[in-house]
Symmetry: D2
Subunit: 356 residues, 4 copies
Amino acid sequence: MSMNTFGRVFRFTTWGESHGPALGAVVDGCPPGLLLDESVIQPFLDARRPGTSKFTTQRNEPDQVRILSGVFEGKTTGTPISLMIENTDQRSKDYGEIAKAYRPGHADYAYDAKYGHRDYRGGGRSSARETAARVAAGAVARLVIPEVRVRAWVEQIGDAAIDYARFDEAEIANNPFFCPDAVAAKEWERIVDEARKAGSSIGAVVTCEATGVPAGWGAPIYAKLDADLASAMMGINAVKGVEIGDGFAAATNNGEGNADPMRPGADGKPQFLANHAGGIAGGISTGQPVRCRVAFKPTSSILTPVESINSAGEATDVRTKGRHDPCVGIRGVPVVEAMMALVLADHKMLHRAQVG
Amino acid sequence: MSMNTFGRVFRFTTWGESHGPALGAVVDGCPPGLLLDESVIQPFLDARRPGTSKFTTQRNEPDQVRILSGVFEGKTTGTPISLMIENTDQRSKDYGEIAKAYRPGHADYAYDAKYGHRDYRGGGRSSARETAARVAAGAVARLVIPEVRVRAWVEQIGDAAIDYARFDEAEIANNPFFCPDAVAAKEWERIVDEARKAGSSIGAVVTCEATGVPAGWGAPIYAKLDADLASAMMGINAVKGVEIGDGFAAATNNGEGNADPMRPGADGKPQFLANHAGGIAGGISTGQPVRCRVAFKPTSSILTPVESINSAGEATDVRTKGRHDPCVGIRGVPVVEAMMALVLADHKMLHRAQVG
Amino acid sequence: MSMNTFGRVFRFTTWGESHGPALGAVVDGCPPGLLLDESVIQPFLDARRPGTSKFTTQRNEPDQVRILSGVFEGKTTGTPISLMIENTDQRSKDYGEIAKAYRPGHADYAYDAKYGHRDYRGGGRSSARETAARVAAGAVARLVIPEVRVRAWVEQIGDAAIDYARFDEAEIANNPFFCPDAVAAKEWERIVDEARKAGSSIGAVVTCEATGVPAGWGAPIYAKLDADLASAMMGINAVKGVEIGDGFAAATNNGEGNADPMRPGADGKPQFLANHAGGIAGGISTGQPVRCRVAFKPTSSILTPVESINSAGEATDVRTKGRHDPCVGIRGVPVVEAMMALVLADHKMLHRAQVG
Amino acid sequence: MSMNTFGRVFRFTTWGESHGPALGAVVDGCPPGLLLDESVIQPFLDARRPGTSKFTTQRNEPDQVRILSGVFEGKTTGTPISLMIENTDQRSKDYGEIAKAYRPGHADYAYDAKYGHRDYRGGGRSSARETAARVAAGAVARLVIPEVRVRAWVEQIGDAAIDYARFDEAEIANNPFFCPDAVAAKEWERIVDEARKAGSSIGAVVTCEATGVPAGWGAPIYAKLDADLASAMMGINAVKGVEIGDGFAAATNNGEGNADPMRPGADGKPQFLANHAGGIAGGISTGQPVRCRVAFKPTSSILTPVESINSAGEATDVRTKGRHDPCVGIRGVPVVEAMMALVLADHKMLHRAQVG
């Protein structure tokens, strides 16, 4: 069932295919009176924009956003904000070959099994271009949570992880990998370039941290802050795993090792001595940084032929030519940030609804 | 914001605290005409029931379910099914000591920060007893998807993982750990018993597999099958990580290594040569087994004193006496199965709604 | 599709059949810290309770509510509040005759057409007993909106309307009809008694007014306050029409006649010179009393035989013996009040979510 | 709380202000494989289009719809369908005078009370132009329910009702009033013209009937077919009342008079001898025509000065110059039809979800 709306009170609905005329998002439930024009959103889209280095897809899209509603005299009105981004660089001919063949790892076969009909150009609705709409919506969400700072980075590409001893936030904007470790960034140049030249692809891990989240956002059951983050992150194209705090490492720990002891803090709030929990306990924020890790698989679009079948059920080999990201995790960084902001904005408003 | 309903068309709402008179679930949207009485549900509750071995909490709850509505002459009517389980073995006095102190790793502090008021007895709403209601609801969900077989097992406790070369499904019911590897089960006896005797606790990983899911359940965006599974699993008490298919391992792989090649199958459906994707591509089931891994942290209830604060903001040391599971992941197995069944039932019905 | 949950952030889910062991409601999203015990709810149930006069059904139900969760030390905790009412006076034998025959005007035929299976005892899920659960939930909703006063009354039974010149609110509790006009109440005694003795039934109109609603609750589109009220009221058993403010009379008016002029008020708020709009403009409350009228049809359960068919499709005559209200609109008064309170509580919280 | 999405599984989200660059709808959950292009939608928009006679607003909008997503090779893909209509004839200067004054009967004051900020040009989000988006979405909904025929007409303008003895469906398209009675249409010319010339306005009643709805759509509680219709209709601008079947007339009837007797029908289905219920019993369709009546108030935009206040709280007189419909109910006909189609499409899919 197509369900292109995300969120409970701060909600957004996205639409658009890779090779249609445009794509967009309708942001609903936004508080009134927030200062908003296109220039507030554009920088986030620019960060996600393809074609900015040889390490991302060479599709060239300006990704200029237009605000079509919900803003008057420079401020949000509280009514739905329609955001539209036109597609300009569509080369549908690149996809002719795979119109009938199912690309392994892509949703092609699953789509046809579900709908019996699909827009095969560039992955249609499953294209990573859809994430531009989320990034635009996320820029609006950030206005709702000015007390929160959201930042993400690539932590690992393939087997090569950063060294947190060299973590330098300023470095993130200095390289095409959103990498906070200048040494690792150098190594990634080589790794991603090799994958690109080989017509292959490579996976990555993105880490996201939100600081400034007060204690008390979230819910004990089902609409837990961590459950909603898990849904938000797992819903990003190519994501296969989500961890909150220590994640799978917590499974190998014991109760003492995993405890986050508290002491009376100077400001009346507790001072935590560790953050194994990733800032969330029992589904509710604790006031510590909210932290999650997100695993991106290598894009399935590779030049190496892979055994597959076509829509007639016959054997065929598939190579995906087109223009693709050798490592989709990289451009996942602004998307992960956007989803974090969107979930937090929703939970801030939900908390306010119940508790006032 | 309290949101105790899960699901989109097949929905359930749970209620109840650890030390209240009862807990329950209201299952709504269930198809009519399914054969249902208490005996259909009870075996799943018995599998989750505490007090069955020394490796789980010694709280002794019969967990007898009563069906209060929605069933007539042995069949579901299509109207809401109210399931109730009475609490019988509540020892509130055990919790007096922690009424004012915040147990590190628990939701105590976050609850007070949110609501300013909480039922501290046994964790109140955050008690793992809430999962009994989900298990009961999950038993109803299984009736909606008779074509699907859902099974889960513990794959790892602390650092000790099973050897899949020794995987024997029949073994799962033969030991108190839901362990499919008889050799690992022996080792876990020692590990869990040591944790128990030390007043400590230990984490675990649960794996769940659903076979028989046809291709086509799920959605391209937001209501993705994998996103809903991630939400369902991350919403279980003590869970800190969720993977679909290869999960974080996919992040270290390349496109060739992560491909799931297809060949024409004997039955007209594709024969997949691998299942790195865990049975889900682009948010939609592929017809392969749907597989996920779930990380449980060690329970935070330990006898070792941990630095903490009380509700007045003063320093205190907290030991959690009560009766607790040394490894909550173990009893997580029936809960993980229930959540898988609940998500799949919902998506089967959603798919039918859209596609007929 | 069975959808037994109502509301957006303040939500309740009801369950239970007329002749099952119990019925109930789970109230979710309630703010924490509200003073609540059974005695807060019981008076509203007592007002709706059957068997209190010869003008209502003779089924004798104490309708004692039990709170099973969500309250600790006399205050709401913010977690789901489970309310249960046991059924005690069920005479299933009364219904044997109509197990196979479809009662005209009842949902019998529609149920079978939908579900192929129904609990025919007392109307099963369609029994007006379900409204007891709403009344209980409504009592909780009132705690959320202490600034609002909700009251309803019967305005008309059959053709006999009250005279608003004789409107006396104190009178409402003085007669078995919730009638604010002592003269009309006398006439209704005769009308309803005649209907009862004839084994017939009679329709009624209920008016509900909420004062103290501040300007600003509601939404411009879809989640309009008036649209949600319309849904809430039309969802009550036997209701066939809903009006906000002047309702259908506005259709016969012109712009001048229908205007609600404003003057500067003493308190800085506008002083309205009329309330044709019923306190809602553009889906949003104006600060005037919110007022709606609700039409109840005569109950379809009558002793006069009516032509019908049975489940085999054969002709039959149906008389509905059982014990029925000769005028269901009367006991609709507490239900209408409850639905008004539930909608307003939800919108207060929604407004707070968006605007703070 | 802004909530611009309507529906449960077949959903649409609208956006856009009267004087913004465009408005639109995103239709989500639509089944795949339906034949759709702009020409399928345009005729419904043309029927609602302003400026087609002197009896409607003189604003001249071509209301050309563009499909931006969700359709490939002429068929729906099952993914969100983005529909956009550009605004071309905006004369913002007309509204300068009322930027600060609250027009009585409009949402101006309520908007400011809620949001503290509003787009006052042409009513902003509360403009009847929003209904163009619904009409476009409704055209898509009709594709989902080919078995159903939806038609609406104006039944009454001011006090002048049609005579059903002269009902001629073919007549509806022959006059500018959607009037099925040629005699009444003549009278309405005079009535509406007088109102127009006087700078006044007049109310109307629209009736809508859907034939071909099978028995079984809807739900016993809350998601009742009639409750959803009531919400849908009351959510249309200027609507103040909704009736299903006999509506308020049922309140004056007795059980015998209100019964819809059944006989065995030729086709195995019941033959109903009356339709007081308007095709819905217990919230579920009976197989009879689904019928509702909708009351439109006279538009509040009149040239006669009305006492009011401005945003500073000072007294002022307001005349609404602009270009307005003297009788908004007339152009409500295509909107009522659209909402009926949208509700029915949703319920068809919901029924399929639960019952298969």
